[in-house]
């Protein structure tokens, strides 16, 4: 399971890096999104991989930490997703503004001279 998930994170992050280095702004945006997915998964995995272990305790019982998943990375992921979503949406707006004002979707705001 560890191997599969680390390979998956690596592939998603790698594709993200490749896209971020592309010249069109939409590709950059897609790359940033892929990278943030990979990072979110990464944070999640940093609480170690568990199967069938809830991150919550039942009220009134004495919890046994060995049976519970680490809840903190899950909380962190939630925050990271929200913030990442908001900033990506903002970037999308700037991207559309740039397209409208400069007439090109190149990240430099002008077409490269061929």
């Amino acid at each position: 399971m560890e191997l599969v998930i680390s390979l998956a994170i690596g592939i998603v992050f790698g594709s993200g890096i490749w896209l971020v280095l592309r010249p069109r702004s939409f590709q950059v945006l897609a790359g940033l999104m892929l990278m943030s997915y990979a990072v979110n998964l990464f944070i999640f995995v940093m609480g170690r991989l568990w199967v069938d272990a809830p991150p919550l305790t039942h009220a009134g019982t004495t919890p046994n930490p060995a049976l519970l998943a680490d809840p903190l990375p899950q909380a962190l992921v939630l925050t990271a997703i929200v913030i990442g979503f908001a900033t990506t949406a903002l970037y999308l707006v700037v991207m559309i503004g740039s397209r409208g004002l400069t007439g090109t979707d190149h990240v430099d705001g002008k077409e490269p001279e061929l």
């Binding site: 971020v20 702004s25 950059v28 940033l32 990278m35 943030s36 990072v39 990464f42 944070i43 940093m46 609480g47 170690r48 903190l72 990375p73 962190l76 925050t79 990271a80 913030i83 990442g84 908001a86 900033t87 990506t88 903002l90 970037y91 700037v94 991207m95 503004g97 740039s98 004002l101 400069t102 990240v107 430099d108 705001g109």
Partner: protein, 552 residues
């Protein structure tokens, strides 16, 4: 027993801008005067609060000069701890002062051309202040994002093609850096199981083997995020373009934001990789030192290579970042004292210069700039035919004198604060243990650092003089520009502060010495944060984390 009221002041720098910013959001542009004054009131409040915090940390009101606020009454490693000590109180004061100058500058023009300028500005202050106060890594990430999100909006303020183009790169770089921040935080959590900085510092010495290696990877990735913000070479290429494109009052706040990166490196690095850190002690110091040196070279070369004032200011900020990072990496407490003085002085200098640029641009019409360049290129001697007896208009005199003062500060020439800062750094490099403690051989890296600082000053003088000559002497401007009082006042204010810093250098260095001592004593800090009691009676008692550990 309840919390002493003064402890709530620690939270004010975050809450006040948040509330005022939210209050301003629904007001339409018809109310711009009210918005401006509300914003102003918030900044005056922040200023007073920062002064009060300085008085309390330095005046012995709080034990060890540290005021701690436990958010939601959770004891330290479980909840978020906000901490005000001498250094963070000083940074809060710097933020309030620069914010006030920037806001005052926007009164006539910049504050009116966008609907939510003041709201974003308040949120920016909230993010910066929060980053100075929080002592939890993930909370630091949140405050960084608040600060950055506000700055994205502010850089776009006064929407034109150049700003959009700069923003595209600025936002992309910072989104990528935020991802690195998250990766680093996650790795640190995975290896140490904590995000609280004090708890982290207590656990690092216990790491060994694979865990330690992973932790170092995490710390490096995290540092990359801060150094991107702090514009260390080769992570700082975004900076000059962004500074030159942003409107002046925003650009001067961006100068402060690069210093947030340097501040976090200063605090975290000294805390986590201190001499008590066991196997991890001093990790990455060389990288900071040599990276900082490379940054100085890059910034100084950049200053020389450009003739746009905005880009010049950007490169000046890079030089100051580089100097700071090298000073931190050099790892010597006395040098850090002078380094913090330099941080404050250079931030004020570059901020004043950025505001001045807009006013100077009014006399620097494209035609006159081109004429000056052409005459230089063809070596035309431009001797006036006759001496005319006309006086220099007051506006021109102000602009040129203020420019000269900025140039002196940025280049570090006497008599202004830049010189005192450099003098302090050289003194610390040459006498590591203070005067009279015997001569100690200065390592080669120390000599290299000194040479680089002097050379960067020389290059700054050359490029500033070239710009000054082209603008004030060769531009052929005959008409004095119209300056508004609200635009002149903040520049005078910042320059006056710099003079004050020079005159009051001794008490300031005394304060900075105590601030630097604080951050060089991680053991006291760790003990204070982890032992901070919660307010009893409101929640069921949480087990104290110190019960199993020994107090240092």
């Amino acid at each position: 027993m309840s919390l002493h009221w003064t402890q709530h002041l620690i939270l004010v720098p975050v809450l006040l801008p948040l509330l005022v910013g939210a209050l301003l959001a629904p007001l339409t542009q018809g109310w711009h005067r009210l918005k401006y004054w509300l914003s102003y009131a918030s900044l005056l409040g922040l200023l007073a609060n920062a002064v009060a915090l300085i008085a309390m940390t330095d005046g012995g009101h709080w034990q060890d000069g540290m005021g701690i606020y436990l958010a939601a009454n959770w004891s330290a490693p479980f909840g978020i701890a906000l901490l005000a000590d001498r250094l963070s109180a000083l940074m809060l004061l710097l933020t309030a002062v620069l914010g006030l100058a920037s806001l005052h500058f926007t009164r006539t023009r910049w504050g009116r051309i966008g609907v939510h300028y003041h709201t974003l500005f308040q949120f920016l202050l909230m993010g910066i202040n929060g980053a100075f106060l929080t002592h939890d890594l993930f909370n630091l990430f949140v405050f960084f994002e608040v600060m950055l999100a506000a700055s994205y909006g502010l850089v776009l303020h006064g929407y034109n093609a150049e700003r959009i183009r700069a923003s595209m790169q600025y936002i992309a770089i910072n989104l990528a850096a935020a991802l690195l921040f998250l990766l680093g935080t996650a790795l640190i959590y995975a290896t140490t199981g904590t995000l609280n900085m004090a708890d982290l510092a207590a656990r690092v010495p216990l790491l060994a083997g694979d865990e330690l290696a992973l932790f170092k990877v995490g710390a490096t990735v995290l540092a990359l995020a801060f150094l991107t913000k702090g514009a260390m070479w080769p992570l700082g290429f975004w900076l000059p373009t962004t500074y030159a494109a942003a409107s002046p009052p925003v650009a001067m706040m961006l100068v402060l934001m690069t210093k947030v990166g340097a501040y976090v490196v200063l605090r975290l690095w000294l805390l986590i990789f201190s001499d008590n850190a066991g196997a991890a002690a001093g990790f990455g110091g060389d990288a900071l030192l040599y990276g900082g040196m490379a940054t100085i070279v890059f910034g100084a070369a950049g200053m020389l290579s450009t003739d746009t004032a905005g880009r010049m200011a950007g490169y000046a900020a890079i030089v100051s970042s580089g100097t700071l990072l090298a000073v931190i990496g050099y790892g010597q407490p006395a040098l850090v004292t002078a380094g913090i003085y330099y941080l404050i002085g250079s931030t004020i200098a570059v901020a004043a210069f950025l505001l001045l640029i807009e006013l100077i641009d009014r006399i620097r019409t494209p035609r006159s700039a081109m004429l000056a360049l052409t005459m230089e290129a063809f070596a035309v001697e431009d001797a006036p035919d006759e001496q005319t007896g006309r006086g220099v208009p007051a506006a021109m005199a102000f602009l040129s004198l203020a420019f000269a003062a900025c140039a002196l500060m940025i280049a570090g020439l006497p008599p202004l604060s830049g010189f005192v800062a450099k003098f302090g750094m050289f003194h610390a490099l040459l006498n590591p243990h203070g005067i009279g403690a015997g001569t100690v051989a200065v390592p080669t890296s120390g000599w290299i650092l000194m040479v680089l600082i002097i050379l960067s000053g020389l290059l700054a003088v050359i490029s500033m003089m070239r710009f000054g000559v082209r603008t004030f002497w060769a531009s052929g401007a005959t008409e004095a520009p119209k300056l508004h009082r609200s635009e002149v006042a903040p520049i005078l204010f910042l320059l006056g502060l710099s003079v004050l810093m020079t005159v009051q250098a001794e008490p300031m260095f005394g304060y900075l010495k105590r601030a630097s001592d604080d951050i060089h004593r991680p053991a006291t800090y760790i003990y204070r944060v982890l032992a901070e009691p919660t307010v009893p009676g409101t929640t069921s008692a949480t087990p104290s984390p110190l019960s199993s550990k020994e107090a240092p």
